[in-house]
Amino acid sequence: MEITQATAAELLRAMEQNELSCVEVTQAFLDAIQTRDVAVQAFLHVDPERALQQAEAVDQKRRNGQSLGRLGGLPVAVKDVLCTQGQPTTCASRMLQNFVPPYDAHVIERLKAEDAVLLGKTNMDEFAMGSSTENSAFQKTRNPWNLEHAPGGSSGGSAAAVAAGMAPIAVGSDTGGSIRQPASFCGVVGMKPTYGRVSRYGLVAYASSLDQIGPFANDVHGAALLMEVLAGYDSRDSTCADRPVPRYTERLDQPLDGLRIGIVEEHFTEGLDAEVESAVQDALKIYESLGARIEKVRLPHSRYAVATYYLIAPSEASSNLARYDGVHYGFRAQQFSNMVDMYSTTRGEGFGAEVKRRIMLGTYALSAGYYDAYYLKALKVLRLIRRDFDEAFAKVDVIAGPVSPTPAFRIGELVDDPLAMYLSDIYTISANLAGIPGISIPAGLSREGLPIGLQLMAPPFEEERLLRAARMFERETDWHRRRPKLMLTPQAGE
């Protein structure tokens, strides 16, 4: 078995049957990082020593016959927006370049408790603001399928790490599409759970009412397995749902009988790339061949989703990012003349352009005299968008459609056109506004050889339905088994 091309389930099985030790598995991924990440640049921080220590501990437990957690030694990459005790957590920002949190995020605690091996922290758009990972203050991550192209974002590092076989599973966060869009661009599975399904404690906030943590994997089973670990109640997050977490992997292979799939007319209009459209249509045919019924549904207010998002998210961001002021931790400017000057110089030097743009947008939208016209109005539209989904899901079980209007764009292609960049999230943003789960699964390759994703969305807390519907498609296709050429070049030491 080629370790770095294996799925999570295959690796777990091999370790359980003592065909591979956890140290061997971990070492293989560390080696892959060493060879491939020079080109891909997915990781901001790799901790081989600590990873191998954890792996050794897992092997020791196995040798002793002790029971292991659900991730039983699987290496995992983590987006650098999640706090890790004693390890840098930078949010790809100069502002937090030297910040080392004194605590672990809830999901990090969960990963450790279930015996995952933490490989390192992955690159992202600064404070998760962006759709290409180009807004990182430190490096540009490349799409493993074509290094001239962007991996998507903001969780581009995690998506690229899985796509390049530098980690079998990874954790990301999704505020407007930041898991699904890079998953689609990189040809891996990525899921944004229902708002409240995963505790946000320790997730550095961008837009608190929209942020959700979710899994990346190279197949649906891997995503389902990681979801079982990430999801669940945590009293430290007031918005976290106190309801049981299903065993998503258990019934994953049971097809959904009489599945009703909704398609949204508004999705298939101007701006949608023809190759993406045909990949989606092909996927729908496969579902039909499996007995699913395709129905048209309407989401009339989704045309306001991008505008709504760019009022709510920056408003919350302007407040969430106020704490980065150089007083208590993180970056502080060297030269300043007084307290107010220290604030403005620190923030002026510490934040990148996109972060500043959104802070200004949000500050404006919340200002006296504008609040009602912008923020309050956006909240009203948000309720209409939610109602649209409620009505649609009264008729269908899942909604299927494109993830992003195009396959991965070139690095640098959209950096000077923020509006075009914002539109790359046009199909994903609604799920965040409505708080519903959405998944991106590999569904094709463009003529240029770039992956195309299919998005499925389900009603709140129907992650199991979503994963089973995704798995139905995956069983019938081999898009998830495709690997970028980069992975086929021999590794050092192989």
Binding site: C91, P101, Y201, V204, D237, S238, S319, V327, Y371
Partner: protein, 517 residues
Amino acid sequence: MAKRVAQRVEPMATDTTKDYTVVIGLEVHVQLLTKTKVFCGCVNLFNPENPNVQTCPVCLGMPGVLPVMNREAFRLALKTALALNCRIARFTKWDRKQYYYPDLPKNYQISQYDLPFSHDGWLEVASDEEFSEKRRIGIIRVHLEEDAGKNLHDETGRGTDSRVDLNRAGTPLLEIVSKPDIRSPAEARRYLEELKLLLTYLGVSDCNMQEGSLRCDANINLHLQEGDETIATPIVEVKNLNSFRAVELALQYEVGRQLDEFRSTGHRLGDVPKQTRGWDEKREITFGQRGKEEASDYRYFPDPDLVPVTVSDKLLEEIRGELCELPAARRERFRQQYGLSQYDASVIIDQGRRFADYFERVAQECEDGKQAANWVTQDVLREMNQRKVDIDKFPISADDLAFLLKKISARELTTKSARDVFAELLAGADSGTPPSAGRIDQIINERGLALVSDAGQLEGVITAVIARNEKAANDFRNGKQAAIGRLIGEVMREVKGADPKLVRQMLIEKIVGSEEA
């Protein structure tokens, strides 16, 4: 419209031809006595000696942390609002008040903006120092928020760095905003005294102004009457008020200052931006502070990290059930049940719950409320003040005092003797002999203070004294009233502790009776 108070306040010259009304509204912040902070698990204690030890990632505002509402803080807040006769909102939420300051780690304060958990209440305050009437001061709203930390600036003038102590950051803080119903600086003080009494009765706060657990800002202006026209002067907010006395003095000063200001500038409300003035305790003046008012836009919006709170009937009933008898009600009950004057009832209640409990115990045990009131408001209070102790540390327990007072009612001791015993008990306590019922009896015995009220025991002595003093007895019979004094004195000398009233009565009966025989 409330009655006009023709208050003339020195030191500033005032125009005596004008009549005016003082209009005051108070904004009071009180820290709640919870075990932990309002949005994290850190202990909630005043601890300025050890800065930044009562902190965690949440109250430090670290990246990624989330607040979780402290239910106990919300219960205490509800309790307070109910006691202030407020209407409780069934749906309330948290908002972020945004401003940059180093003592505010997140650079926003979690507070309540447009939907406070309670509103429209009132507090009854005595209209004057004699408690002859009550005035109802309206409460606009009470809301819950988190306190900020404390900036510690270099006061040596050497310009070293300022420091920040975040022990206080996240302490549950109630903001209680009164209507502008207060009509004099003295009434402002009485409002604060009554509020403090209420909050300490409820046990929700210790209201220690020195430690900052009660803080007060005052808004004041004047409504001047010129003919048929009422002219409002600009509203001034006074800060740095460190005691109730400071509140009263600062407001008194402001009345004079605003009168003078109006005379010299003619500025009315709306002509100039709202001014913030500080109180200089040493010079006893208010001084203009750099106004941040014109620039402040707090950009309030609902905190997306916290869920709105719904208040059920069940919760409200539960908390209503936990409310103790409130000071105003108790004051009234003391008056009726123990026949106290309004003044005495107020003196007792105003000393705080423990003192009132002490009084009530004494009153119930000795079965004489007036007697108990006289003793606690005079003797006990005087000794407490002299010793600078509160009632919990006062050496004589309520039961022991009641035991002593009962002897007065039972005519076993004169009031004067009881005072001697009281003094002796305290002296004993100071030298290590704790007061007790046994000790009281011991003092009475040792000093022979017991009243002899046994007629049989007196009978023989009285007969003998009359026999020995025929002349005096005859003088009395012939109308010389003073003659009886000598006889009483002689009986008292022979029977120590004899009840003088009884002796007098028996002597008269004997002398007059023998004449008839």
